[in-house]
Amino acid sequence: MSDSANATTERTESGESDATGGPQIGAVAGKDDAVLRVDDLQKSFGGLTATDHATFEVERGTITGLIGPNGAGKSTIFNLISGFYEPDGGTVTVNGTDVTGMEPYEVAEHGLVRTFQTPRKLEGMTVREAMLVGPRNQPGESFLNLFTSPGTVGDSESANLADAERILADFEIDHLATQPATDISGGQMKLVELARAMLAEPEVLLLDEPVAGVNPTLAKKLKTQIRRLNERGTTFVLIEHDMEFVMDLADPIVVLDQGSVLTEGTPEAVRSDDRVIDAYLGGGA
């Protein structure tokens, strides 16, 4: 584990000792450097409570795992944080700004970007074209600029293209650059999705099951990339059912059960928590 990862663990462990003292997990006075705050978040669909007063914080520079059994409300929380769902109550704060109820594009403008559980296919685009959707606020996204400032558009496009090629090379998938984006394998799509999200230069990146359906080789590659990007300063929050993957990568881990936060802490602490074993493993493990 890298030095920064060790430092993260130390910070989290000190936070955990506060958190495990009572039921208000995460509702601490506030971590000094929280980049994402979820406070008392609630969401119901008809009679079904999907998110039940969920509260937790994500410290800058960490990789936070969000785990829980099926139906625990993990994806709902992602949708609430990223603006795809409007919460019934509670707040979401990104970088100190209350983004509750904002549109997803507005949340992204505050530095929080997400990926999806199922990789999104972009029909009729090559991989590098699909990558070029990533950068935010491109001059060429203004219709008028196409005719009034074509030089600026060209310069920006060249720079973005160079960035895209560099990131594809970093991810060791530059050989796919001119392949149709729909013709690559599922695992490669996950890598492209992560690489594209990085072009948006997020401060916080939410990854929804990044290795679901991905072979072990590509999963290793994804893990390496996530760790490398985290060391460069990107904060990650990830939902993952692959316990080995999440326990190895994430620290701290937030456990959800029935829409609320059951506990949070280091992988070791979570692994040995009886409530987690009961909720997640059905008490049999």
Binding site: P104, M125, T126, F143, T178
Partner: protein, 418 residues
């Protein structure tokens, strides 16, 4: 590489459908040329048909920028076309009950302005919703506009329509008198079949120039837009709107821009039609126009500007060409069957070539970014259709990749392991 600098290379680079379309187009043009020389096709009528084809190409461009680029389902093509046509006619026609006598440029501005306002008004409540809501709203709009035109006689003359519309160049220096100033010509290439080129011919020539100008400018704008980051966001919205939103794109704004742009192009086609036909009536707003334009876009290839152009020309060819089949020994009257023919055509295309005849072929990246030095070369193929053998090869390669994925062997082999 362009056709002028490397004609052999350009032709050799054509895919099979491109070569087929090129071949058929050349043969068709030759046929028309022979028919013109032989006097079987009047030159003035021929130019009228060219104008009509240009108008349909414009309408197809408009729908393509909405549906082809962004995935917006607009069933009110005829409404926006009619708004442009009536806007121009009401400002310029002698019989206009509210205005009339204005310069056609005023009519152009009014037609486009009304279309702009209408598009924004329809877009505001529907573009935040799912695509099918826009489809329903636009279907309603088409009928509302048609019924208003038909029933509000104080405004539109009702079913009588508007007559006495001047040519687009009326009042312009030189061009307004150009048809009369040109000398009448008589050509006789085939003995006994003289061709007369008189004032109507020269007037029709101006119309063709006008529609070429409109269609050329529109093509230029759309081509540039399609290859830009702006166009890329639209294509992302079409494929997956949630992804675009997650990446920080204000999809509502982009959809509105796309919808308004397409509606303005449709209205432009209406303005041109007014000055081509010199009469507009409620019949011009019939839903069949919308149907024809949808067929043109799907036939040509959704998202492809040249496909829209091709589709527009094919539709006019079928629509007008069937009139001439009676001159041959055809056992049935084919003209009333043209809708059936178009229906069969679209079924065949959907069955054997669902992506259309000329779908978008190349990677769409801003040209200076891929052609400039220091940036990666533009790929020769990209999303371009491959020749059959390449296609099969790639498919088997990708199938292998997927199988590797399942087996736990990455496509890059074990060397990529940490």
């Amino acid at each position: 590489m362009s056709f002028l600098t490397d004609p052999r290379g350009t032709l050799g680079d054509l895919t099979r459908p491109e070569a087929w379309v090129l071949g058929v187009s050349v043969a068709f043009l030759l046929l028309l040329f022979v028919a013109l020389l032989a006097g079987a096709l009047g030159p003035t009528y021929f130019l009228f048909l060219v104008g009509l084809a240009g108008m349909y190409a414009l309408l197809s461009f408009g729908l393509n920028s909405q549906w082809g680029f962004t995935g917006l389902i607009n069933f009110s093509v005829a409404a926006f076309f009619g708004v442009g046509a009536y806007g121009a006619a009401l400002m310029t026609a002698d019989s206009s009950p509210i205005a009339g006598g204005f310069n056609p440029l005023v009519g152009l501005i009014v037609g486009l302005s009304v279309a702009f306002v209408l598009a924004v008004l329809i877009g505001i409540p529907t573009l935040r919703l799912r695509a099918d809501y826009l489809a329903i709203a636009s279907l309603g709009l088409a009928e509302v506009v048609r019924l208003v035109v038909l029933n509000e006689r104080w405004l539109t003359n009702g079913s009588a329509g508007l007559r006495g519309i001047p040519s687009f160049f009326a009042g312009w220096p030189v061009l307004s008198t150009f048809p009369q100033a040109m000398p009448g010509l008589r050509l006789e290439v085939v003995p006994g079949s003289p061709i007369f080129l008189e004032a109507p011919f020269w007037r029709a020539s101006l119309n063709v120039l006008l529609v070429l100008g409109f269609a050329g400018a529109t093509y230029f704008v759309l081509r540039r837009a399609h290859r830009s980051p702006w166009g890329r966001v639209l294509r992302t919205i079409r494929s997956d709107e949630d992804l675009a939103r997650a990446l920080g794109k204000n999809t509502y704004s982009f959809k509105m821009q796309s919808f308004v742009l397409g509606s303005l192009i449709m209205a432009l086609a209406g303005v041109f039609y007014t000055h081509l036909n010199l009469y507009v009536g409620p019949g011009d707003l019939d839903p069949i126009t919308t149907f024809y334009v949808w067929v043109a876009v799907i036939l040509g290839g959704s998202g492809s500007n040249r496909g829209a152009l091709f589709g527009g020309i094919v539709i006019v060819t079928i629509r007008e060409g069937t009139r001439f089949l009676n001159d041959f020994a055809v056992p049935i009257d084919p003209a009333p069957l043209r809708l059936l023919l178009i229906g069969i055509l679209i079924v065949v295309v959907m069955r054997y070539r669902p992506q259309g005849i000329l779908p978008p072929q190349r990677e769409l990246i801003w040209p200076s970014a891929v052609d400039g030095s220091g940036t990666p070369d533009r790929p020769a193929s990209g999303v371009r259709e491959r020749k059959r053998s390449d296609d099969l090869e790639n498919r088997s390669e990708n199938a292998e990749n997927r199988s590797d994925d399942r087996d736990g062997n990455g496509p890059n082999g074990g060397d990529d392991d940490e």
